[in-house]
Amino acid sequence: MKKEAKIFIRSDSGPTAGELFRGFLSIGIIGFGGVLPWARRMVVEQRRWLTAGEFTDLLGLCQFLPGPNIVNFAVALGSRFRGAPGAVAAVAGLISLPMVAVVALGSLYAAFSDHPVVARAAAGLAAAASGLVVATALKIASPLRGKPMGIAIALVVMLAIAWGHVPLLPAMLVLAPASILLHRLVR
């Protein structure tokens, strides 16, 4: 009896795997300049799969785990409602159409990259994209304001990777535990 009741609640509340696939399909292809704002709009405001608070909590997990945040979010949301099939459906919906679009764009670029105007446009686009990454980095680093130890750790990581050319994996294996330990000692 108890088991049946549980199945009833699961199938009646929240999206099916097909709905997860279609929902993430709809935001993947319109997500110019990042998918996250569109994900929040779709999940919280339009389809009401999560409340605003649930969304923020789930996103916190996805930022903490390695991997692209939006992919992790699709996995976490899909698995919460439909287990492994839900996670697969959400990720497939998220990346399938954009994969086709990005390869089409890449093919166009490869076909015309010898043309001087296209090459110059690509160099201008790349320089502007660097500006986007710089701006994002500043936003991500802004919570460190007023935290000298955090700023110092961030600088060490930055110098090691950008100018020391230390490979990422060994750097992370040393610096992440060191940072956690320092935060523990200081507190």
Binding site: F32, P68, A122, G124, A127, A128, A129, A135, P143, L144
Partner: protein, 173 residues
């Protein structure tokens, strides 16, 4: 080892260390793709990254483009699958436990300790990418102006990317 297998190896390893997303591991990705494997020049790498930014969808699709550039459709699928697979499995396993432990002190401590590391990684990525795209004083200036605009205003990034491409095409940089 075939290039498809090498692609899977490179992106599979990045999948599990990319705390903060694909931008955090750009320097390592460039080191692997340009310097270690010699699959493309630094300029081509920057151009593919910019294309992935300008295209719809998650920025992690730079993996699809790099894989496709190196080994065609098989490379695109291998690189994307290797980047998505390991972190997706980890998220799947951790999602339930994370919710249960949300108020535990150790979880807050880990979060506080990882934050500056993530910030340092992303700033390093910005430096490495900006160095690759600053092929002239004009291009460096464009990067600085674009960064200032996007940090200080709520302007949609696509306008800035489009303006960069237009300025480049017009030959004024």
């Amino acid at each position: 080892m075939s290039e498809v297998a090498e692609l899977a190896g490179v992106f599979g390893q990045l999948s599990l260390v990319s705390v903060g997303g694909i931008n955090a591991v750009l320097p390592e990705l460039k080191r692997q793709v340009v310097e270690r494997h010699g699959w493309m020049s630094a300029a081509d790498f920057a151009a593919l990254y910019a294309l992935a930014q300008a295209a719809p969808g998650p920025n992690m699709l730079v993996s699809t483009l790099i894989g496709w550039h190196v080994a065609g459709i098989a490379g695109a699928l291998a690189a994307t699958g290797a980047l998505v697979g390991p972190c997706a499995v980890l998220t799947f396993l951790v999602a339930g436990a994370w919710h249960r432990f949300r108020d535990r002190p150790w979880r807050l401590l880990v979060q506080a300790g990882l934050m500056p590391v993530t910030a340092g990684l992303v700033v390093a990525a910005a430096i490495v990418l900006s160095e690759a795209t600053a092929i002239s004083a004009g291009h460096a200036g464009l990067t600085a102006v674009a960064a200032a605009l996007l940090a200080a205003t709520r302007l949609h990034p696509l306008w800035v990317l489009g303006a960069g491409a237009a300025l480049g095409a017009a030959g004024v940089l």
